[in-house]
Symmetry: C2
């Protein structure tokens, strides 16, 4: 999709999908996509064909994260080529179906941009999740969103398991199954600016380029589990000093966990890290109390329309 | 259990149960009860036999509110006398089992005090839920807890569907499936003081009484649903001015909901109310955005040991 001269060149991003309900109890995306399926005027742009889509309707119906398995982890090559139709887990069937509609992955027919809307119970504010630090189109889009509209905004370079041209969006804190107006509006505003960026890019008159820019990101380092006893039972909670402190520096010696019998466990690492996804409800089953990140400044090459 | 002279007389409260996991994704109660099942020294008192008990183990296992039906609504006379054993919904079977162990309801063998530990996603702080404004033992216990230890503490006279001598405890805000240390510690402290009160009452040397006191309570008035369209779909969110404002006065004309297209809907009632359970995750399926209450001051008669 890209080729280089002085600026990276991208084809127009004509076909854009907005996924809601990949996790059926993350209500901002579910509600926004349901609204837009009924009336899409808000997400239409002249030069963009935008398709809002509920990805896991059964989980949405039950207001649960998933039915059989996490859809967000189901887009593996093995799953996408698995045979068995009705015998496969629901979300594997659904991943195949979504891949047929919006992919196939890596093919020329695939959608140009896919936004996947998520909520988190962590105090993460607005987070855009990227797969690659070389993804200049998305980096430029982030920069546009950040500069244009949002002040309390963080972006996070994270690993997403779909290798589409996909942008994950996480907004929180919001409990599962709850719709909070502030979180709903934050997600809506980000989507508006993202679509405006794509429209502006597509309009790209001769010579118009998005110049080289720097973008502050958080690169995921590792996943930290809750402290456990010999039987695997959790024996501590996120420390009150760390709770809700997503994106804040955690320095060696800082409190990290509080055991049920009142002992503070400290961060023993050698340097400053920036925890996030702190105490996310859905990650207990993934044995993950938070993820650590480090701050980086990326340079996004100038881009222009091919 | 009570008889009157100058002060109401109650028998000793020897047998106390602490229920956790009545809703399997409310993690403070689940975690505390699981800890106390392993090591109950913290909840033992000389003159009290305290039994910690996970009421809905299958829901706890799945980290879900319930499996077949809400256990907290399952203790009806119809359910408790229903025949069919294994064919009954899981929580109805479980209600019968719990009634056999801790009841039967209204019988002399029933436990004296039962604490039922709950979390809410609403910003309710600590809330004790009573069935009756004539329940002087529990009112005195609340007064003791409030005066002894807690500053930011509210109590709420609410309808509970078990007509045992039961005290519901709600602490929030905490997302479902998440354990927050501040909420965990608040619940633990309330339980400590509740058990101290019972011990103090049981010790009751001749002539020792808990004198008449006044207790501020919130009496539940009605349940308010989200605004909906003709098809029953929700069309508005709790207004940002009301969100997290549990126990704060809502006056005629105050913002109440915000529609998805940006219109503010105002409270149209004739007098001040005090909303609570605002935007509780589990109440979407009960079509309830919040409950309204009014403030009252109750007089709790003096009590002493019979």
């Amino acid at each position: 999709m890209s080729s280089y001269s002085s600026s990276a060149r991208f084809d127009e991003a004509r076909r854009v999908a907005i996924f809601g309900g990949t996790h059926g109890n993350e209500m901002s995306g579910v509600t926004l996509v349901n609204l837009w399926v009924k009336n899409g005027s808000e997400i239409q742009r002249k030069m963009v064909d935008t398709k809002p889509f509920i990805t896991n309707p059964r989980a949405v119906e039950k207001c649960t994260r998933y039915v059989d398995t996490d859809l967000n982890r189901a887009f593996t090559p093995e799953n996408l080529s698995a045979l068995g139709e009705g015998d496969l887990p629901y979300e594997v069937q659904r991943a195949q179906e979504i891949n047929r509609i919006f992919g196939p992955k890596g093919s020329p027919e695939a959608y140009d941009v896919i936004f996947d809307l998520h909520n988190t119970t962590s105090n993460m504010g607005c987070t855009l999740i990227l797969e690659s630090s070389k993804d200049y189109f998305n980096l430029q889009m982030m920069n546009y969103i950040k500069v244009t509209a949002l002040r309390s905004y963080f972006c996070c370079v994270n690993i997403v398991l779909c290798d589409w041209f996909i942008a994950g969006l996480e907004v929180g804190p919001q409990p599962q199954g709850v719709l909070r107006s502030n979180i709903f509006e934050a997600m809506r505003v980000i989507l508006k600016h993202a679509l405006d960026f794509i429209e502006l890019f597509n309009e790209g008159r001769t010579g118009v380029e998005f110049p080289t820019c720097t973008v502050e990101v958080f690169r995921v380092l590792e996943r930290i589990d809750y402290p456990r006893d010999a039987n695997g039972n959790i024996i501590a909670m996120v420390h009150p000093n760390l709770q809700d402190g997503d994106w804040e520096p955690l320095n060696p010696g800082d409190p990290m966990f509080l055991t049920f019998d009142g002992k503070t466990l400290h961060y023993q690492g050698s340097g400053t890290i920036y925890p996030t996804f702190i105490n996310e409800a859905a990650y207990y089953e993934k044995q993950q109390a938070f993820v650590t990140t480090r701050r980086e400044t990326l340079v996004a090459s100038a881009i222009r329309k091919a």
